[in-house]
C-alpha cells in the first residue's frame, strides 16, 4: 500500500461534461502508476465527477473553493464535449445557488483560473462523436469556448498512459512539446500507419478481406494512414496487450480531429489516390513506397488538408502541398 502521509501535491479537477465516462474509466485501467497512486502519491484529485464521494452542493463547493482560493494552482482536466445549444443547457454540471450550472459556464469559469487546461479524449479535444452531423446538442471542443491554451489528449477513449504521461509531464517538467493540434508530440507524433506492425503487409499488398484476418487492414477501412497516435507500439490497456489492428480490425481513427464524420464508413477504405500527376488504386497503393505511402492516402487526405484537419508536416509532403492553404482550426492567439 502507498504511504498515506504525504505532503501537499498538485491539485487536479477532473470534470465531466457531455461524456460517456469512457475516459475516466480508461484512466482507471492505468497501471504503474494506477489510479490509487495518482490520488495518493502523485496528485490531489480534488474533484472527480465519476468517483468523488461528495455530491450536490458539497461537490459544487469543492469547485468554487479551487476557483477562488487556488488560482493558477490547479490542473483542469475536462472530459466531454461542450454543448452550446439553448445556452448550454444540453449539459448541466449540477446546481449552483439554485440554478443549473451548465458545462459551458463551468469550463469557462474554472478554465480561466487554472494553471493548465487539459482536454481528455476526442470529445473534449475536437468535439468528437456527439459533434457528428447533425450535432444535435451543437457541441464543440473545449478549445472553441476558451480563450487560453488547451492541451489536447485525444482518443476515444484516451489510452491511460497518454493521460498519465501528460499529467506527469505537466507536474514534473511543465508543458510538453505540442503539435499544431496542441497534442503532446510524445504520444501523437507519428501516424499509426508508420508505426504499424503490419506495415510490411501494406507495402507488399497483402490485405485482409474481412475482419478477423491477420493481414493489413487498409482495404477494410483502416484509418491508420491518417491517424496520429502511438497505439501500435504502446498498445492497450494498462498491460499493453492489444490494439484494434492486433485484434484484426481496422483502426477507426478515434484520436483524429475528424472523428467520426471523417472516418466513416469504418469498413470502407480511404478513396483511391487521385492527385494531380498521380493515379493509384488501392490495389496498387501498397506497391508504392516513399512519398506516397508516407503521406497517407488519397482524396480523403486532400479534403482533410483543404479543411485544415491534417498536420502541417503531412501537407509538406504532398505534391504542391506547400501551396495548399490550411484553415486554422484552433482559435487565433492560442499558440
Amino acid at each position: 500500500m502507498v504511504n498515506e502521509d504525504v505532503p501537499a501535491k498538485p491539485l487536479i479537477i477532473w470534470l465531466g461534461t457531455n461524456t460517456c465516462a469512457g475516459d475516466m474509466l480508461s484512466l482507471l485501467n492505468a497501471k504503474d502508476p494506477g489510479y490509487q497512486e495518482l490520488i495518493s502519491s502523485i496528485a490531489e484529485l480534488r474533484f472527480d465527477y465519476l468517483l468523488g464521494a461528495s455530491e450536490g452542493s458539497d461537490a459544487i463547493n469543492v469547485l468554487d473553493d479551487l476557483q477562488k482560493n487556488h488560482k493558477a494552482a490547479y490542473i483542469l482536466v475536462v472530459e466531454g464535449s461542450i454543448p452550446t445549444r439553448s445556452n448550454g443547457l444540453y449539459s448541466v454540471i449540477g446546481y449552483r445557488n439554485g440554478k443549473a450550472w451548465t458545462a459551458l459556464q463551468a469550463v469557462r469559469e474554472l478554465g480561466a483560473e487554472a494553471r493548465y487546461v487539459v482536454a481528455a479524449g476526442t470529445c473534449a479535444a475536437f468535439g468528437g462523436i456527439y459533434a457528428a452531423a447533425p450535432n444535435p446538442s451543437k457541441c464543440v471542443s473545449l478549445q472553441a469556448v476558451l480563450d487560453r491554451k488547451v492541451i489536447n489528449v485525444p482518443g476515444c477513449p484516451i489510452n491511460p498512459e497518454w493521460m498519465m504521461g501528460t499529467l506527469n509531464h505537466l507536474i514534473q517538467y511543465g508543458e510538453p512539446a505540442l503539435d499544431d493540434y496542441s497534442r503532446p508530440k510524445l504520444f501523437y507524433g507519428e501516424t499509426i500507419h508508420n508505426l504499424c506492425q503490419r506495415r510490411d503487409y501494406f507495402d507488399n499488398s497483402i490485405f485482409a478481406a474481412k475482419p478477423g484476418e491477420p493481414w493489413c487492414m487498409y482495404k477494410i477501412g483502416c484509418k491508420g494512414p491518417v491517424t496520429y497516435a502511438d497505439c501500435p507500439v504502446r498498445q492497450w490497456n494498462g498491460e499493453h496487450l492489444s490494439w484494434p489492428v492486433k485484434a484484426n480490425t481496422p483502426c477507426i481513427g478515434c484520436a483524429s480531429p475528424e472523428f467520426p464524420d471523417g472516418d466513416v464508413p469504418f469498413f470502407e477504405h480511404l478513396p483511391d489516390i487521385k492527385l494531380p500527376g498521380i493515379k493509384v488504386t488501392a490495389n496498387r497503393v501498397g506497391l508504392l513506397t516513399g512519398v506516397v505511402t508516407a503521406l497517407g492516402i488519397g482524396a480523403h487526405l486532400m479534403g482533410s488538408i483543404l479543411t485544415g484537419r491534417l498536420a502541417e508536416t503531412l501537407k509538406k509532403d504532398l505534391p504542391g502541398g506547400s501551396k495548399l492553404k490550411i484553415r486554422p482550426r484552433l482559435k487565433k492567439g492560442h499558440k
Binding site: 460517456c20 480508461s26 490531489e44 454543448p83 443549473a100 456527439y130 478481406a209 475482419p211 485484434a247 477507426i252
Partner: protein
C-alpha cells in the same frame, strides 16, 4: 414540506440530479432527471449499418461492449445471418468480462463510498460522515478491498482488451462474428486473469456485501417497489440463439411471463422532447429534443410496458432465472449484483473450454438494402434494445432503449413515476443536510450516466435545500 435537490449526483456514470420532497422526515415525492443530451439516434441516421456497433459503444464507457453486442445482434437480425459458433462464445466472453468489470467497480467504487469511512484524501473527502456503521476492523478491510478492486476491475478490462483490442470500446464484437482467434496463448492469458477476478469475487466481494447487509439490514426495507421487472435475456447459449443463459421475461406483480416487444411504449410527456416523440413503440420511435418544453424535467424518455414502469438489472435477471426472489429492496439489488458476478465468472470458465482454436470466428455477409432488425440483450443495468431500420443500405432509423431509461425514467403520460422515483417514496431522511439515504437507494440501481434526479420535501411552508 421541504425540497431537497441533489445535483450533481456523482458515482452514477456521469452525473444526474434528483429532487425529493420530504415531509415528516420521509420522502413523499421524487423526480429523477437526466441532465445532458447527446442525440445518438440522430447521429446514426444515414450511417453505414456496420458502423453502428462501434458508434453505439460510445454511448457508455462502462457498458460499451453490450452496446456493441446489441448493435451486432440487430444487424445480424436484419441480414438474416448467424455468427459462427466460436464467435458467439468469444462475444459472450467479452461482454462477460465487461460485466465483471462493471459489477466490481460499481460495488467498491460507486456504492461502498456511501457506507464506509474512507481515507482522508480527495476525492473521498469531502463526503457525508453520517451513519457509517461498520466496526473499524471490518471497515478498514473493506477499504483495502476497494483498492484491490481497482486492480481486479482493471484485470477484467484487460480481458476485454485481449479479445477486443481495447477497453472501453472494444473492436472484437461485430455483426458476422468476432475477430480474435482463440489461440492457446490468448485463452491462457484470459483464463489466468479470469481466475484472479473470480477468486476476488469469491473471497472478498461476496462476503463484503453480506457484511454490509448485516450492518445495514434496514436497507432490506428501504427502496422497495412492486416486483415489476424486465429482462431480454443475456448470453446466447448457442449461435442459433434459441435460449440464453440468463433468460428474458417480464415480471408483473411478481408473475413471470414472456415479454412482448409490441407492448413497449416510450412516453415523453415529462421529458425534454417535442410532442411527436411519444408515446411510441421504439420500432417507430422519434427523438426531437426540445429543452424549452414546459413541465418537463429530464432528458430521459419514460419507457413503459403495458403502461407499467419496469425495473431492470441483476435482481430482475436472477428473479426471472429463479435464483434470487427474496425482495426488491436496496440491499437485495446489491446482493443480486454480487451473486450475478459470481455466476457470470463461473460460466465464463466453462465457456473457455468450449472454444476451438482453429474454428471459424467471422462470416462475411451482405448488408441488406432494405431491412429491419432488433438487437436485444441484458446489459449491466438491465434490458438493452437496439431497433434498426435500413433503407438503401443506410441506417434510416435507429432507436435505443437503455436500461437506465427504464430504471431512471421520469413520470410518463399518465403521470406515473419511474422505478427509481417509486423506490425513493417513503424512505426516511434522518438528516436533511446529509441525506445519504437517497444516494444509497438510487445507486443500488447502478444508474448510468444520462441521469439526473431531483429530491423534494413536501409540507408548508416550502423551504428549498440545495444539496
Amino acid at each position: 414540506m421541504k425540497k431537497i435537490v441533489i445535483g450533481p449526483l456523482t458515482r452514477a456514470n456521469n452525473s444526474c440530479a434528483v429532487e425529493v420532497t420530504v415531509e415528516d422526515k420521509k420522502v413523499v415525492d421524487a423526480r429523477c432527471s437526466g441532465i445532458f443530451f447527446r442525440g445518438f439516434e440522430l447521429i446514426l441516421q444515414g450511417k453505414d449499418p456496420r458502423d453502428a456497433a462501434y458508434l453505439t459503444e460510445r454511448i457508455c464507457g462502462i457498458c460499451s461492449s453490450l452496446h456493441g453486442a446489441a448493435a451486432s445482434y440487430a444487424l445480424e437480425d436484419a441480414a438474416g445471418i448467424k455468427p459462427p459458433r466460436n464467435a458467439n462464445i468469444l462475444r459472450n466472453l467479452i461482454i462477460g468480462a465487461d460485466i465483471l468489470q462493471n459489477h466490481v467497480r460499481h460495488l467498491y467504487l460507486f456504492s461502498l463510498v456511501d457506507y464506509l469511512v474512507l481515507p482522508e484524501r480527495a476525492p473521498f473527502v469531502p463526503g457525508y460522515t453520517k451513519d457509517k456503521r461498520l466496526e473499524k476492523k471490518k471497515n478498514d478491510t473493506m477499504v483495502q478491498n476497494m483498492y484491490l478492486a481497482l486492480e481486479i476491475s482493471r484485470l477484467a478490462h484487460e480481458m476485454v482488451a485481449l479479445l477486443g483490442g481495447k477497453a472501453p470500446f472494444p473492436h472484437g464484437i461485430l455483426a458476422g462474428g468476432a475477430t480474435v482467434p482463440p489461440s492457446a496463448d490468448v485463452v491462457m492469458n484470459f483464463r489466468s486473469k479470469l481466475q484472479k477476478v473470480n477468486q476476488f469475487i469469491q473471497n472478498q466481494m461476496v462476503s463484503d456485501v453480506y457484511i454490509l447487509a448485516d450492518a445495514y439490514s434496514d436497507y432490506f426495507e428501504l427502496g422497495q417497489r412492486a416486483p415489476n421487472m424486465l429482462e431480454y435475456g443475456l448470453f446466447p447459449c448457442t449461435e442459433q440463439d434459441q435460449e440464453r443463459y440468463f433468460p428474458g421475461g417480464a415480471v408483473l406483480n411478481g408473475q413471470i411471463q414472456k415479454f412482448d416487444l409490441s407492448l413497449i411504449k416510450e412516453h415523453t410527456a415529462r421529458s425534454w422532447y417535442a410532442a411527436e416523440s411519444g408515446p411510441r413503440n421504439p420500432s417507430d420511435g422519434r427523438t426531437v429534443p426540445e429543452r424549452e418544453k414546459e413541465n418537463a424535467y429530464s432528458w430521459i424518455k419514460a419507457p413503459r410496458y403495458s403502461g407499467v414502469p419496469l425495473e431492470g438489472g441483476p435482481l430482475a435477471r436472477l428473479w426471472i432465472k429463479g435464483d434470487y426472489r427474496k425482495g426488491t429492496s436496496t440491499m437485495d439489488r446489491m446482493i443480486a449484483r454480487t451473486l450475478e458476478a459470481q455466476k457470470v465468472g463461473a460460466l465464463m470458465e466453462s465457456w473457455l473450454d468450449e472454444l476451438e482454436p482453429e474454428g471459424c470466428i467471422f462470416l462475411p455477409f451482405e448488408v441488406p438494402k432494405n431491412a429491419e432488425g432488433v438487437g436485444l440483450t441484458g446489459a449491466m443495468r438491465g434490458p438493452l434494445g437496439h431497433w434498426l431500420r435500413i433503407e438503401n443500405g443506410r441506417i434510416a432509423q435507429y432507436q435505443i432503449i437503455t436500461p437506465s431509461a427504464w430504471n431512471f425514467s421520469p413520470r410518463d403520460n399518465q403521470n406515473c413515476r419511474g422505478p427509481v422515483e417509486e423506490a425513493l417514496i417513503g424512505i426516511p431522511i434522518a438528516d436533511e443536510k446529509q441525506p445519504i439515504e437517497i444516494g444509497r437507494v438510487i445507486r443500488s440501481f447502478d444508474i448510468c450516466s444520462s441521469c439526473s434526479a431531483h429530491i423534494i420535501t413536501t409540507g408548508t411552508p416550502v423551504r428549498e435545500i440545495m444539496i
